[in-house]
Symmetry: C2
Subunit: 205 residues, 2 copies
Amino acid sequence: MKPDKRRAELRQRLLEAAEQKVAAEGLDALKARDMAATVGCSVGQIYNIYPDLDALILAVNGRTLEKLGAMVTSSKQTTAPSSPEEASAALVAQADAYLQFALNNRNRWQAIFQHRLATDKQQPDWYLELKEKLFSHVAAPLQILLPDMAVEDRARLGRSVFSTVHGVVSLGVEELLGRQSPAELAEQLEVVTGALVRGLQAPSS
Amino acid sequence: MKPDKRRAELRQRLLEAAEQKVAAEGLDALKARDMAATVGCSVGQIYNIYPDLDALILAVNGRTLEKLGAMVTSSKQTTAPSSPEEASAALVAQADAYLQFALNNRNRWQAIFQHRLATDKQQPDWYLELKEKLFSHVAAPLQILLPDMAVEDRARLGRSVFSTVHGVVSLGVEELLGRQSPAELAEQLEVVTGALVRGLQAPSS
DNA sequence: GCACCTGTTTGAACGCCGTTCAACATAAAA
DNA sequence: TTTTATGTTGAACGGCGTTCAAACAGGTGC
């Protein structure tokens, strides 16, 4: 078999093994030696395929971002909301979809925000674009909700609304055990996103 | 000198050294050997004073939470807001104070949310109380804003509002370089918190 | 002074980590 | 077959948190 094909296959197997490991035991459980043993190659081979473990983690997180994006997109109750009411409902539904994804894929979702590159390295372009795509999903319903807003302002606001939802989900999921149930969390999230959307429509003081 | 006194002094010196290290170079730069060298003791001595490095980190983060709490508290433009308008302004001011603290103490602030205990260990009570105190600062103005709400509901909502602000600050600070300036971030935060507060007062649909 | 005991302090050593690279295997060319 | 180029390997390196047998210091009785 050609070495190129071997490498491509191994690359795929490594990614799958890494995804499963992260999903099952969290980002901290991802170890080079363990991955090598799982896919049946040497430790060194990993570094022939990925420059370092960070690259493998980014590949895993990239796939998570894709799944997350698909989830949030498919949540839009109306594929193209036309009224402010529909747009509001779509935003609240997106927030709930984000929460449900975080709850159902906790380790994978946490890995996205847990992982930190060394300060001198920076996230690759394809990864940044994936995140941007996620933000833009939020900005779309905002267009119906706030039609007079400039495009770049709406993009910024989309990021902020996403951040808002992320904050509630993030701190909520992190101390799930002992304090609040998933149902209570979903309720709180709906209260907050609902209020935020109403407030954005209301005239500013 | 009595060993007890020596230990107490060393405990203090270790905490200060750890704080400075985290503030200057971030949580990841905190190493046992380095701390020992800085305060002039052996590595082992650290483990006679703190059970492990997690405990030292929690001590550092505890002090950060205290400073943060003081900052947010002192931000209340009116020490005891009496009108809904004052309460709204107080909440927006608190959010801005939170942002300013995060910007001015980035590494220390990041350390709070970056640090993760092993899943089998859990945060000590005094640490949880510090966080609870922070949330309660938000809940206080909510009392004027939503006087009819039950106490425990208000506490929950306080946590959610805090989470909201935290989300915007968190994702905002993490990609500060290249995209948005601190001023833009502050503006975005004000837009979001303002809208949220307005929405909470408006009748729910 | 010395010997004894008791609690404290020490830093080499352990196990685990990401990463490297001289040595080895394999395939292609001569 | 021999030589060359290319791909693969896993022991070894440096660094990490943590431990614990051994060295140490302080007090007590002689």
